[in-house]
Symmetry: C2
Subunit: 117 residues, 2 copies
């Protein structure tokens, strides 16, 4: 793999100063980077990260009413965080009567985990 | 492990409607969740994610001047992203002459990767 080492005038380094070895290109393309970054961004809050932690370690679907006592925030705040996780494709939910039951969608987490390995 | 299944009046479900199985607690404590979320948040941008992707696959330290041609953004924008990554403990830099050279600090990425596994 070769890369273009030509620098624009703005970036031109002074004569005699050696700058760099050629670098590698990103292994993830722009589209994958957008997807992975969306997942990472959704995990970029301690409560959302702990929500995912609970949900993925729980075998079934978990009622919002069981999640609320675990966190020091109001139910609307928790629902807001769950919505962000759902929008990013990390969790999904199912309504049963008055309550929404949440569960993890493992694919998105798996993709980020695979990239980090 | 037991958890308190008492619900506040606001959350009380109608008689006869069964809600949930007891859920597990988060495995990560608040302090660890804050740390992991900070790393995830720093990765929550496609350019920052691709920057980390380049840096961690490169054996040595990489000059900013070599990173700029890889991305469709200005050098100040790239430096801003690199600063965010540094603030989150994902990368560090060293100044040589006019240029800053960046490299990955593997610990933070490793901790997030371990959590995702």
């Amino acid at each position: 793999m070769t890369i273009d080492l030509e620098l624009t005038p703005k970036q031109k380094r002074p004569a005699g100063e050696r700058c760099c070895e050629p670098v590698v290109y990103p292994d993830v393309d722009r589209e994958q980077a957008i997807r992975l970054a969306e997942v990472a961004k959704a995990l970029g809050d301690p409560i959302r990260l702990q929500l995912v932690d609970v949900l993925r370690r729980h075998a079934g679907k978990v009622c919002v009413c069981e999640l609320v006592p675990l966190f020091d925030v109001s139910q609307p705040t928790l629902s807001h965080h769950l919505k962000k996780l759902r929008d990013a494709g990390l969790v999904d939910s199912e309504r049963r009567g008055l309550w929404a039951y949440y569960y993890v969608l493992p694919h998105a987490l798996g993709e980020l985990g695979a990239w980090l390995r």
